[in-house]
Symmetry: C2
């Protein structure tokens, strides 16, 4: 069961129908851009405002309920916050999939001879997915 109501409240976000729908969309599709999210929402809420999408994406980001993934040469996508992972992006069909990479391992090697205090590492791997070759 997916209780997005509780999860939203845990992040200090009121559980509105629009936010529950956004939660479901991200849960079901994984990585979604503003545009496609808006189109999806229009299916459920014929009169939803694009401003509502933007405002929610922003506050959800601030409250770490969701995270953004910036894609090279493409639109930024958003996903529900989950444990640290990296991304595979298909340059052909633009699909984004999760991949578990031990980024910490690489990052730790650096940290030793550096005074830079690392807080996170974003890795996006581009290529051609199995459906596109």
């Amino acid at each position: 069961m997916n209780n997005f109501t509780d999860e939203l409240r845990r992040h200090n976000l009121k559980a509105t129908p629009q936010r529950l729908a956004i939660s479901s969309a991200l849960h079901n599709y994984g990585h979604v851009s503003i545009d496609t999210l808006y189109e999806m929402m229009l299916g459920e809420f014929a009169s939803i405002s694009l401003a509502t999408i933007y405002k929610n994406i922003n506050i959800m980001l601030e409250n770490s309920y969701i995270q953004e993934v910036k894609i090279p040469q493409n639109k930024t996508v958003y996903e529900l916050t989950k444990s640290s992972h990296s991304h595979l992006v298909c340059v052909d069909c633009k699909s984004v999939e999760d991949v578990s990479v031990d980024v910490d391992e690489i990052v730790n090697k650096l940290n030793l001879d550096d005074t830079f205090l690392i807080s996170k590492a974003d890795l996006v791997i581009s290529g051609v997915c199995k459906n596109c070759n």
Copy 2:
């Protein structure tokens, strides 16, 4: 010596004064956003058009003369194309610096048990630089 004229031509780009200035700016400052690049150019070319900046950035990207670096929570920056490397971004002062990371090593591990054909990997490490802590 930096012969940007030849380097531009090697990438099928006419060597205009504006492009030479953009080249110098990227060479001297490393990683520059559209905004700051425009401001810099205004110093040299009082009447340069913002459209010129955009058109040049785009064609330079297409011709691989420069590359873009998408920064989490911040503006995209551009740099002259150089050998593969990763980036350290300070969440405080927003400075971007190059760092050599063997991303291929990690990536190769994945490739073995995956049908995804990798073409490149972008790694951006966020944290606090030595000047900001």
